[in-house]
């Protein structure tokens, strides 16, 4: 049981850090709430769509900014899209860079835009690697504890589990019920 507790603890720490460090916001919690037995892969599906969409957007943005005469309307439209999709999955830091990015577009500030492009790529890769890790780890943790589905809230880090599981394994439930403060 000890190894399992450690694993859960690490998983818990990892996921709460994602919220605390602003990689994810409450929208990611909302996504998890929409996942259930009838749609067990919902979060992964949406996030995968986000990854695919983002790669295309980033490529298009690079191309658009490399044009001799930059079409800021087009760049802005792409950033607007990226802002929307990142917001929809709760990728807060990516979204925030998009907000600044749009301001530079409005100012037609090509250097500012370039900087933002680098920044948004960076933030995107950061959140992508973390989400990839999250998806890899959660079935392992779930498997180790015979718990069907996991989700984490940033507010008090309660992990949502089947009520039946809680009754059967109260020890596990207690060890993962930890309270953290609100992120930022």
């Amino acid at each position: 049981m000890d190894v399992v507790s450690q694993l859960q603890r690490q998983f818990l720490d990892f996921t709460t850090s994602l919220y605390r460090e602003g990689f994810l916001d409450d929208q990611f919690v909302q996504l998890q709430k929409l996942q259930d037995e009838s749609n067990p892969e919902f979060v992964i599906e949406v996030v995968s769509l986000f990854f695919e969409d983002s790669e295309k957007l980033l490529n298009n943005l690079s191309t658009a900014l490399q044009q001799h005469i930059v079409d800021y309307k087009q760049v802005d439209a792409l950033v607007h899209q990226f802002k929307g999709s990142s917001s929809s999955i709760g990728a807060q830091r990516v979204k925030n860079v998009c907000v600044s990015f749009r301001n530079y577009c409005e100012e037609k500030n090509v250097e500012g835009c370039f900087r933002c492009l680098q920044q948004v790529k960076h933030e995107y890769h950061l959140v992508k690697s973390r989400l990839d890790a999250l998806f890899k780890a959660s079935p392992l943790v779930a498997g180790a504890t015979n718990i069907g589905s996991w989700w984490v809230s940033p507010y008090d880090s309660i992990i949502g589990i089947d009520a039946a599981e809680i009754r059967e394994s109260p020890k596990i439930y207690i060890c993962i019920f930890v309270t953290f403060g609100l992120a930022n």
Binding site: K33, E45, D53, H80, G84, S85, S88, I89
Partner: protein, 207 residues
Amino acid sequence: MAISTESEFHVLAVDDSIIDRKLIERLLKTSSYQVTTVDSGSKALQFLGFHEDEESNQNRPSVSPMIHREVQVNLIITDYCMPGMTGYDLLKKIKESSSLRNIPVVIMSSENVPSRINRCLEEGAEEFFLKPVRLSDVNKLKPHMMKAKAKDHQEPAKQGPEGSETPEIQSVQPQQTPAQSSNKRKAMEEGISQERTRPRYSGLAVI
């Protein structure tokens, strides 16, 4: 305490973002609605069987009555910012169409622009949701669909291409809870609904 099963409500969701389409579909399905998603306003109109000449020529019968009966849409929820036809454009087209105007329309947008919101509500949108849309937003849809259904049941004749410009005096249903349906009504409804008449005082004291 609705007896009717929610699955009889069919929502058409319009959004150019594949991620948002997936999200709204899930939100709607979680609420037990039937869902169709399309990625543009023009595809939405196509799905609805909309034809440009419907609105201009009242005499010509609806060109695709079959399509109307088969695909019953109880609510349209659309993104505002879309390439080509915006959600606002789509809203306008729907409200201008004699056969589609009774379908409640909801707009979604990632941007909180009051003038935009007002414009949509004035054009006849029932609600304006800020993205990302949540379950609590989707919960607000049912009353609009139920109201539209009740309206349809009361006046089946109105669905034909009759004078769409006649004021809603004909639909004198007891408006039980005007407050509940919120202040998002069209101006003309408010102008003539009886229960809203207030005693008018001329300001002159009667001695």
